[in-house]
């Protein structure tokens, strides 16, 4: 027994020292202006900016990540964890505004808002009139990215192509409820904001028909499957395209002829933020020219900032007017319709 004791004591000593060393090293010093808590989509800002923001403003930043808007919502709604500033998509912003969960932004703290591009403003108007509660971080479209070695370019021009059996087990679809119904709706000619149960049911059936062809349901990691050539087609948002093309030259992006969804992901300050000024400072910092440029280079998503307009003039990021004319944005549908969608989405997921 004694030997065991010695062994354990030693292990303990090793663990303790390790614990203390990393414990002390890991503990961050409190910023002079207090802390701000940021809740953001995974991998959605250049990590360097966190430090630069701390240095520039004296705030201490704690960032946490989520995967989809639907994951963000219960956290903010139930106040399970306290965040000052969040990043969310258009329809989620309007849902949160509707439930009084976001604070109005004091634009005197966000002077850089003058540099927000004009081209996103009409879309902002649809879900947050007057940008009262949110400031755009990125924007883009959804479309089909394909590998031109594995798929004939001429074959891909419609959402319906995702139902083509010759691509069985080669398609990656988003693991995101609203995007999936947007796609099914485009095929059937329904609005992506429909609240008719009959239409949602029909769309679910259509999606279920496609499910056997789907290799994986994935959001951000779809690009890795495309780059690694594990899949031939993936529904991705336009921001992923330049990044993927850099690592695999066979990547092509097309916005299907039926039109698509234009999305805007925005920063917003929560209604019960402990540090509202800090949250606004964060938003303002993200609109700095250097931050916008760093974010663009890191993410390759379109950053709607006039000061880096010449960097982001690729067609993938700035679809021509006639394409945009066919696009819609997702809208908040209300609790009842959300429940109905969730019910059918669960059916889709568990079959």
């Amino acid at each position: 027994m004694k030997n065991l004791r010695k062994g354990l004591t030693l292990a303990l000593a090793v663990i303790l020292t390790l614990g203390l060393v990393t414990g002390c090293g890991g503990g961050s010093k409190a910023g002079e202006n207090g802390q701000i808590y940021v809740y953001c989509f995974g991998d959605y800002i250049d990590p360097e900016l966190e430090y630069e923001f701390e240095e520039a403003t004296g705030y201490d930043v704690v960032i946490d990540y989520f995967d989809t808007n639907e994951e963000l919502y219960p956290v903010i709604k139930n106040n399970t964890a306290k965040y000052d500033v969040i990043c969310a998509s258009d329809y989620m912003i309007s849902k949160l505004v509707g439930e009084g969960l976001l604070a109005e932004i004091d634009y005197s703290n966000v002077p850089n808002s003058a540099y927000i591009s004009e081209n996103v403003k009409p879309f902002m108007e649809e879900f947050d009139p007057g940008m009262k509660h949110s400031v755009p971080h990125t924007w883009g479209t959804y479309g089909i990215m394909y590998n031109k070695e594995m798929v004939n370019s001429a074959d891909i021009d419609s959402w319906e192509d995702l139902w083509d059996e010759k691509y069985a087990d080669q398609i990656v679809m988003p693991d995101s409820m609203r995007e999936m119904y947007m796609i099914a709706g485009k095929v059937l000619g329904y609005s992506m904001n429909t609240t008719s149960e009959k239409e949602v049911k029909e769309m679910t059936d259509l999606l279920l028909k496609q499910k056997p062809l789907v290799y994986k349901l994935a959001n951000d990691s779809a690009r890795d499957l495309m780059i690694g050539e594990s899949a031939a087609l993936a529904v991705v948002n336009s921001g992923e395209v330049l990044y993927s093309q850099e690592l695999n030259e066979n990547m092509e992006y097309v916005i299907p002829k039926e039109g698509t969804e234009v999305w805007t992901d925005c920063w917003a300050v929560t209604a019960n933020a402990a540090n509202k000024a800090g949250g606004e400072a964060w938003i303002n910092f993200m609109l700095e020219e250097d931050s916008a440029e760093d974010n663009f280079e890191y993410l390759t998503y379109a950053i709607p900032n006039t000061r880096i307009a010449d960097l982001t003039d690729e067609e993938v990021l700035n679809p021509p007017k006639e394409v945009l004319a066919k696009c819609e944005t997702l809208k908040n549908l209300g609790a009842e319709a959300d429940d109905m969608y969730s019910k059918y989405w669960k059916e889709y997921k568990s079959k």
Binding site: M1, K2, N3, L4, R5, K6, G7, L8, T9, L10, A11, L12, V14, I15, L16, L18, G19, L20, T22, G23, G25, G26, G27, S28, Y37, Y39, G42, D43, P47, E50, Y51, V62, I63, D64, Y65, F66, D67, N78, N79, T80, A81, K82, Y83, N219, D220, S221, R223, D224, I227, G228, E229, L247
Partner: protein
């Protein structure tokens, strides 16, 4: 005779083969990650050259280092507090009537038998119902809760083996209860306390599910960080992290093994 030894040899080869296959199954994934961690490129499908860049990036990444710090500090404090609470509980329960002790030991088993997901959800809901926002403290509390049973299960048998008369003899000889406890009882139950602490520490480091539900803003442990990163897309820094963790675990366990073997040899 010949035939028999031939069969024995065949059996030995068969056994060896079986062990080898299972070893490959167990270690192939881990070694793959180790090899990939030295790959210069971002994608795993092509080897583009040897590089330590992912290790540099890992040590420079505040997210990963913070998660590592959280994992270790939570495990340390959870194990320490659970050990103290569990030890006190054992002392207390030994002074109780058999009936109440049995009931308490039964309740003590609940977190062990319960599925992690249910434990996690129920504690999370309780916090929210009480209006407590999730934070570092809520994670620590849940970890202490699920660690205490392990401590009690390790310490309680030691108390049963204890000769209660030595403690009373010490008291009769004029030792104070505290002195008698530390001089007479403690040495005998120490192995149980130690293994309770280490078991708690390991369980806490390993936990994902309960942390997943009870963590608050910005509180990531390695487990929750890995889970969210896998969803976003695996970055090679995670390969580097796996390698470091594996080597660390290996070294600690080998040292413990050698030490205990050597002691055994001396005996």
């Amino acid at each position: 005779m010949m035939k028999k030894s031939g069969r024995a040899r065949a059996a030995a080869v068969g056994k060896g083969l079986y062990l080898a296959l299972i070893l490959i199954f167990l270690y192939l994934p881990i070694f793959t990650l180790m090899v990939l961690s030295f790959n210069e490129g971002k994608t795993m499908s092509r080897w583009t050259g040897f590089s330590l860049r992912w290790y540099e990036e890992m040590f420079a990444s505040r997210t990963i280092m913070d998660a590592l710090g959280n994992t270790l500090t939570i495990a340390f404090w959870a194990a320490t507090i659970a050990t103290i609470v569990g030890l006190l509980a054992c002392i207390g329960m030994n002074a109780m009537k058999d009936r109440s002790r049995l009931v308490l030991m039964g309740i003590n088993n609940i977190p062990l038998l319960n599925a992690d997901i249910v434990t996690g959800i129920s504690i999370m809901m309780t916090f929210i119902v009480c209006g407590i926002s999730l934070n570092y403290g809520t994670v620590l509390f849940s970890h202490i809760t699920f660690c205490i049973p392990y401590v009690i299960l390790s310490v309680m048998p030691k108390f049963k083996q204890l000769e209660s008369h030595t403690y009373e003899a010490a008291l009769d000889l004029g030792a104070s209860p505290l002195y008698a406890f530390f001089k007479v009882v403690m040495p005998d139950i120490m192995p149980g306390v130690m293994s309770g602490f280490l078991l708690s520490f390991t369980m806490s480091v390993d936990d994902f599910v309960i942390t997943h539900f009870t963590r608050g803003a910005g509180i990531n442990t390695l487990s929750t960080l890995i889970y969210s990163q896998v969803k976003v897309g695996i970055r090679p820094t995670l390969y580097a992290l796996s390698t470091v963790i594996f080597v660390l675990v290996l070294v600690i366990l080998i040292v413990v093994n050698i030490l205990s073997n050597r002691k055994e040899g001396e005996k």
